[in-house]
Symmetry: C4
């Protein structure tokens, strides 16, 4: 049984060319810092920044897909050198079509990392051919819907864990994969 599952993840991981990630609750711990002027700061993790680099070295791009649209996220995306940042997207599931068109990728080349109920639609869609993940502290219904719940919490290495997991599975020895499936 396990043998049937693992090779599938290998194949899926090796096809991934773009990791789409939610921002709040994934790249952050869901915290937003307000001053009297409004939303002022969000906290990100340099560990996740290293995850973006490790994926890039493996030929995989990273993009933020978020319902929120804030200056902090744009600034973080610039720092990370992300090719795409889709903000203010209320229907993420519907937006996947735009993403595939803009990037020229197929559904099988997409991985998605999300934490809350508004991620469920796109998780369902990506799941059929691509890969899906959730932080350790994702909302329960989301955690149950994804391929892989990582061991770190949002804002504390969840993206990095997902990146490591993809790279590791993508590069695992093919012979092992074949043995597993036999």
């Amino acid at each position: 049984m396990d043998g049937l599952v693992i090779p599938d993840l290998h194949v899926r991981a090796s096809r991934v060319r773009l990791v789409l990630t939610d921002c709040d609750g994934v790249l952050t711990d869901a915290g937003v810092y307000y001053s009297e002027r409004g939303e002022e700061l969000k906290r990100f993790s340099v560990r996740d920044g290293m995850g973006v680099e490790l994926l890039r070295a493996a030929g995989v791009r990273t993009a933020i897909l978020s319902r929120e649209s804030s200056g902090c996220v744009r600034a973080r995306a610039r720092k990370l050198g992300l090719e795409y940042t889709w903000l203010g997207v209320h229907d993420k599931r519907a937006h996947l079509e735009v993403i595939l068109r803009e990037t020229g990728l197929t559904g099988a080349q997409i991985a998605y990392l999300g934490d809350d109920v508004n991620d469920l639609g796109i998780i369902e869609l990506v799941k059929s051919e691509g890969l899906t993940g959730a932080p350790a502290d994702a909302v329960e219904v989301v955690a149950r819907s994804v391929h892989h719940r990582v061991s770190s919490r949002g804002g504390h290495g969840a993206f990095r864990d997902f990146a490591d997991w993809i790279v590791e599975h993508a590069t695992r020895d093919t012979s092992e994969r074949v043995r597993g499936a036999s």
Copy 2:
């Protein structure tokens, strides 16, 4: 025994039209960030923002009732689109009358979420007909006084948990409720 308790919560939850929440220690983790100019920032959670939306979709409004009065809280309330924000209220219990008058609601339509000793008065009052809750890390005497101690800590999803719990109980199948009571 359990059958007698659960239907009561169902009935109470289904009547709630306004969730009153304390701010510090509930919407925040009780932290306040000071610069040399004074109170500068408070940290909120987008998970709680989603809770406000889920309640709204279920026909339930949200309002902040706080002893403190700070610009950060006003800014957060604006972002969440809250209809009411009562700040600088030292006697919350006494203020409930103002709230009922302004909103045109009855005590049975109120839910209250608080964490510290200055919430005890209003908790006692709301408890008789409405619903009361506390974050996982509430002050012990408060935690013991409420109907429901949620599983998340203040500033880390406590409000969201309370919102989910109300929506879930309010919408649970009536037949189950009847069975439980029989």
Copy 3:
């Protein structure tokens, strides 16, 4: 044995008129937020603010005694309405004399809450007649030196716990104290 210890704490607690507290690591979680301009923010807890009020209601004043001297701490002290704030004090033990002179109190009327090795000197001194405490996450050698290690961490309610503990012990029924000692 226990009976001999508890009444002593009662007596000591009932005599306390001033709680001296360290700042970093006690009122904060030892964190300091830097921008390129230098130290910018420190995070305090409103739970501790309530502790200051509860002590005040019991006739006990609060003062900050810190080696550091920063604008954030002054701002926090102003907000809490503290009568005394001694900052930039490198030899806290030696400074106790100044404190007793300025306040007109005796050593038996002092309680001290500290977390790190530079608190050891004053802890020794206060300990002989007054009360001493440490946050749950104090440096080990400090935790072992004080009368009471509270259950909350610095910046997360440690001061509040100490305040509650003093008020509780000071007001406990005298008969119990007498029984304990008999």
Copy 4:
């Protein structure tokens, strides 16, 4: 067996004259706070500041060696009075030569504290003659590569733990060391 290991650490610790530390994930919890203007704040710990002082008192200097180059780190280094701050260093292993030249020290006089994969190169190099450490929450492969994984997490006393450990080992009674080795 243990007897062979402990004296070695004593000897190594007593030779250390410079503790090199990574910044993000070691002096901080890997968090970076972004506003719309970009990276705004990093959070440091005063406990680590005390660690710098304790090392200094033992005749050991401290320097930050980081791939990142940010104003917050420079400001923190100034506050701590560090003699050296090497920022924006992408190949830390190669940079060790520069460090030895600038400081006039040998490899045996260096200790290094790091948390992520870009620290592995210099950890290998320092390890042969000097001392190496990692925070409690270091990336697994780093934690497995160092002499000592401290009990505190990055930004929450990891550097302080490492400093305490070095000072303690350096000053431990020589007779004990000899007994251990016999």
